[in-house]
Assembly symmetry: C2
Homo-oligomer: 385 residues x 2
Amino acid sequence: MGKTFLEVKTVRFLHTGDWHIGKKLHGYDLLSDQKQILDQILDIAITQKVDALVIAGDLYDRSVPSVEACELLNQAFIKINLQNNLPILAISGNHDSAVRLRTGMPWYEQTNFHLYTDLKQSFTPIEMDDVQFFLLPYFEPITARVYFEEEKLSLQEAIKKIVEKMKQAFNPNKKQVLVTHFFVAGSTRCDSETPIEVGGLNGIPYELIQDFDYVALGHLHSKNALNAENARYSGSPLKFSLSEKDDSKGVWILDSKNMVPEFHQLEPKRDIRVLQASFETLTDPDFYQQQERTSFWYFQLTNRSVITNMMNQLRAIYPNILGVERVNGRDQSNLLNKVKQRKKSPYQMLTSFFEEITGDELTEKQRSWLEQGLQQAIDTEREEQ
Amino acid sequence: MGKTFLEVKTVRFLHTGDWHIGKKLHGYDLLSDQKQILDQILDIAITQKVDALVIAGDLYDRSVPSVEACELLNQAFIKINLQNNLPILAISGNHDSAVRLRTGMPWYEQTNFHLYTDLKQSFTPIEMDDVQFFLLPYFEPITARVYFEEEKLSLQEAIKKIVEKMKQAFNPNKKQVLVTHFFVAGSTRCDSETPIEVGGLNGIPYELIQDFDYVALGHLHSKNALNAENARYSGSPLKFSLSEKDDSKGVWILDSKNMVPEFHQLEPKRDIRVLQASFETLTDPDFYQQQERTSFWYFQLTNRSVITNMMNQLRAIYPNILGVERVNGRDQSNLLNKVKQRKKSPYQMLTSFFEEITGDELTEKQRSWLEQGLQQAIDTEREEQ
């Protein structure tokens, strides 16, 4: 691109995000898992000698986190920034309360802990050696409309104007990194994300952000959600849903010299495990003593008969059970069907439910009844709004 | 006391507390009043050239304050500590969540903003010139029991041990100031405080804290709640209940040279006003145009007849009405009776209610029925516990 980088110190940074501190998995508290994973992230940062930690939003799981979640995140920041003198570049995501998160922010700045929660802050890059970091927190279109004083502005149009304004601050002798928290069109979703659907928009077109040397994204929980040349989702550091059972979780490390993301895997304290077996196998000491019993288990039971007190017997051996389903030898991919279920329309969901229960397809007559019923439900809802 | 203070710089400090940011008065939002009053406190601090601001707990009104309350307090701290470089010495009170409040605390320390929320922190004084400030946040007895590893420890015993431990750090060449948030025995309560009644204890005996040169107290909302030689409640900076209508609110300023508290009054944006008048007077333009209509009004109506749509007519003129009562010429001190009502026993409350309604006293028979009824209620409650 005609840029020259002679004798300029480069920046090595770690890209993570979607920590969702305080999140529960099927009702199980994840705080101890999150503490362990944050310690691992810090260990990687130290071992890999990075110059900064980039956190792409959703630090907390909700706008009013529990005191335990507050304590955990605060302690993590103290360790990273004050005890290890590592600069932090973080933004708020759609799960965070911008105002609650920025408590103390002007004091954090004193030790290079930059926590941006306001669109206005995004136009002034944080400069580190040969990199300009632009920190664009999650925002609602109304915020952009107020900022740009335009009554109608879609999220897409807002991002376009924001990037244009950022470009005015681009230094041609430096590289530019955008840190942001949105859905980029064409990315793949998973079950633990809260969809952002504003104004019927599917997401930000990738073209709008392609002029950055790297885009450190947050929001989607899989590191492979987007396969673009210069943009990556870090993914969440832990698995937050059954649909992520086969994902590998970790962080990206980049060097401003070449901006090639390098994946570093994280090892959870308790992993999600899906197992198809009979009740007799699962409760056989010879079997279960070989297993990591404290994992988050999802069992696909092959038994056909009724088992008295089944859940209590299983829980006595496996304390963290996400769910048990009966596969009955009839449909061995039931789990994946269930996972896919959520993405079906109400019509599809009802027909597949009918088929699963009765083993028959709906007749023409039944299909027409179903359509009429659904239409009535939609009409009623519209009237009420 | 045999102490000598030759050529030592003295400390001038402002003592405030019980800000209760986010508190409402009879449903009315006080945020704009609180913003104005915090600005006044800062103005006094600057004009009076104080070296530090002491805040004796209850910064927020509840453990999870609204985002508007968070924003207001954060902006106040930014103005005081970062923009005006004034050191802050603050503790958490019984209304604050210690964990939520201490978010960012280790970063605040860098600019002499000390926010102590943990009993453990209280034993190391903050030293400023000739003063040692001991910051003892509000705590529950269980915290002291864990800290001192004693299974049974009343609040009184805990404070005794804490003060003994603090005394080990006393520097005889300096003065000692204790900042704390408790009920000191013998103090006078008012209606806007949440009573702290732990283990049936009435409060901390004054003798326990008399060895400090000054005790900057928080918790009670009247500056005159305690009349001790070396201890004062700052009182709340605003009136938070009708019972405080005649209080004057303000801050104390002290100089370590003599430790004599000097009162500086605060002027609220909207004061509480109690007025006895007829509906005709209150709605007469010649009258109300002379009044500060946006005050928080409490009216004692002298009319006897029914007035249609009374509250709406009054609210159209006086937007902030705390209450309206009918005095009917019969009992002109009704308001004060109501205020006192809350401190009565159930038996006293019922007899005075009977007398107010019927104009007669209870007969012997009626008194005996009432006693039996109350006893039954108490017995039932005991059984249920």
